[in-house]
Amino acid sequence: MARAGYNLRTNYLESNEVLRRPYQRLLVALILLAAVVLPMGSSNFFLHLMNLCFLAGIGALGLTILTGFCGQISLGHAAFLAVGAFTTVILTVHVGAPFLLVVPAAAIAGAMLGFLVGLPSLRFRGVYLAISTLAMHYAIIFLATSYQAKFAASASAGITIADPVIGPFVLRGDFAWYYFLLAFLAAVTIMCVNLSRTRPGRAWMAIRDRDIAAEALGINLARYKLLAFMTSSTLASISGSLLAYYSNVVTVEKYTLDLAIIYVAMIIVGGMGSVLGCLLGAIFITLLPYGIDNLFAYVPRNWRFGSTIFGVQVGAVGVCIILFLLFEPKGLAEIWHRIETYFDRWPFRYRPLDGIRR
């Protein structure tokens, strides 16, 4: 049966469909297949990069829920990651708790902290909320710094963490981590997609678009805002905990404001409020420094200082933020959407109507 076009959704069931175009199922299946097959015969470095992308993806999905779905701007994401990492440190070093206990504990710690950081959102909107998350970031990082100064063997080296043990298996090496993180990321992605099309997700989007109208519709603002903060910080905390296990070392120096901004950059580059975009953005921003590293091979030798490369890597994130916000505010997701629309309409060349977006 001919349909009016993929963007026109005429009933509730249709409005909840995720993969509407016939080829999308195929595409997702192909990507999954590629992701499963890819590690066979690829280098450890490539797997390492992919693992970093997956970890970033989990954290960025958390930020997508908060900023993309619920519209609450946060500069405190690095602090949430730090909470996960330091919960892991405390539980493994002082208590010796196993992996399967530590990660849920990190999630709970993250949720509790998310509740705390979310409290100002009941009072503030916009700019003031961003400033309050900034203050929270510094407060949490300050606590983490004090902890590290007290308990780390040496202040600069950080704290080492042993490889996680799940039952009889030891999660060691990039190959094993790859599959573990892939499965984890897939689960989190499905959770986020499902959240976005069920009650909490729709409530969040209503709050994002107009909080007063949302309240008039009967949405409990306080509850859903706090829920967004808690879900977001839980995911970030889990990501931080897994990263701690994966890299075997935790130092507070990693959790700077720049890291929080890098996560913001991921969702901007990917496209605010889009799960697909968030994953694309996470991959893009994670690989960006390595791409720049490679580009520097073509730069004259006397320009190639170590600090220059590092500086350019830092600056590139900022340039990406600015360029995407100015010229492609809906991010990579919108570019992908435009390509899809082009093929949907082919051979006709309609300009996409304003206001239609998936």
């Binding site: 909107r125 961003a130 400033i131 203050a135 950059a265 220059t308 350019v312 890597q313 900022g318």
Partner: protein, 287 residues
């Protein structure tokens, strides 16, 4: 006496930053998260342009002014101007992006070296108790006073100042009544970056410039918030409070905590009186 000298210099540093943040907030409802970076890069430009032509102070001043003016116009005309009508967070995040780019500029251009500005550091006045005020400190304090007095007179008595206030109140209406809003807002950015550079120079003379010292932006933001994000008077009061608290903490409790003071005050203000000492409460509801 040493106490008074330190607090006054710190107050000037923070007040200049806070004033810039307040001006930008009033002008376009943008909170500039790149203000600390602008200050420190301004300080670096002052230092380097001074070195370029046989240590000339005037070249250094000219360099810093040129940097501020160009930067201000560039940020407004190329970036901020396009963001009218976008959601509020876009402008904020663009300033965050600018902050990162400026920070990387410090790393790439100045190799993230620690730099102390050593122009006019000879002690000019010896105070009781062994404290000294250098020529630069005195010049900085005087310039800060001049800046605030000038700003007050400008907003109060000049035609452009009135246009400024009108634009802050309602840009659309102002532009319909013939105010060149683009000019006014560019000027706001120029004034703010100039103040930031001056503050960066002051800071660089007293302590040192490096990638870490961009955190003075946080102190400036705290000062602006303590005084009220939309109040210039408040900027000075807020700066005084932050400087005072920082000094007392370093003196009485622990020097390590000095970094922590701004955000602790920030948290306290957010809890107790988020609109600040002199700010208007209604600002909180504006998005």
């Amino acid at each position: 006496m040493e106490f008074a000298a330190t607090v006054i210099i710190l107050t000037c540093t923070y007040a200049l930053l806070a004033a810039g943040i307040v001006i930008l907030y009033k002008a376009g409802r943008v909170v500039n998260f790149a203000h600390g970076e602008l200050a420190i890069v301004g300080g670096y430009v002052f230092y380097s342009s001074g070195l370029m032509i046989n240590d000339s102070l005037w070249v250094a001043i000219l360099g810093a002014i040129a940097f501020s003016v160009i930067m201000g116009i560039f940020i407004y005309m190329v970036m901020m101007r396009r963001l009218v009508g976008e959601p509020f967070y876009v402008a904020i995040l663009v300033t965050v992006g600018i902050a990162i780019v400026l920070k990387s500029a410090i790393i790439v251009i100045w190799r993230a070296e620690r730099v102390t500005i050593d122009v006019g550091v000879a002690p000019a006045i010896r105070l009781a108790g062994g404290a000294t005020l250098s020529y630069m400190d005195i010049a900085g304090v005087l310039l800060t006073f001049a800046f605030f007095t000038g700003l007050y007179l400008f907003f109060r008595y000049t035609r452009l100042g009135v246009q400024f206030r009108g634009t802050a109140e309602n840009p659309l209406l102002a532009s319909q009544r013939g105010v060149n809003v683009n000019f006014v807002l560019s000027l706001a950015w120029i004034i703010a970056t100039l103040a930031a550079s001056l503050s960066g120079v002051l800071f660089g003379g007293r302590a040192f410039l490096s990638t870490e010292s961009v955190t003075i932006g946080l102190a400036g933001l705290t000062a602006a918030l303590v005084g009220g994000l939309d109040s210039l008077r408040g900027a000075v009061a807020g700066a005084l409070i932050v400087a005072f608290a920082q000094y007392l903490t370093v003196r009485l409790i622990d020097p390590i905590l000095s970094e922590a003071v701004p955000f602790m005050i920030l948290l306290l203000v957010m809890i107790v009186r988020p609109w600040g000492l002199f700010g208007t409460m209604e600002e909180l509801d504006r998005v």
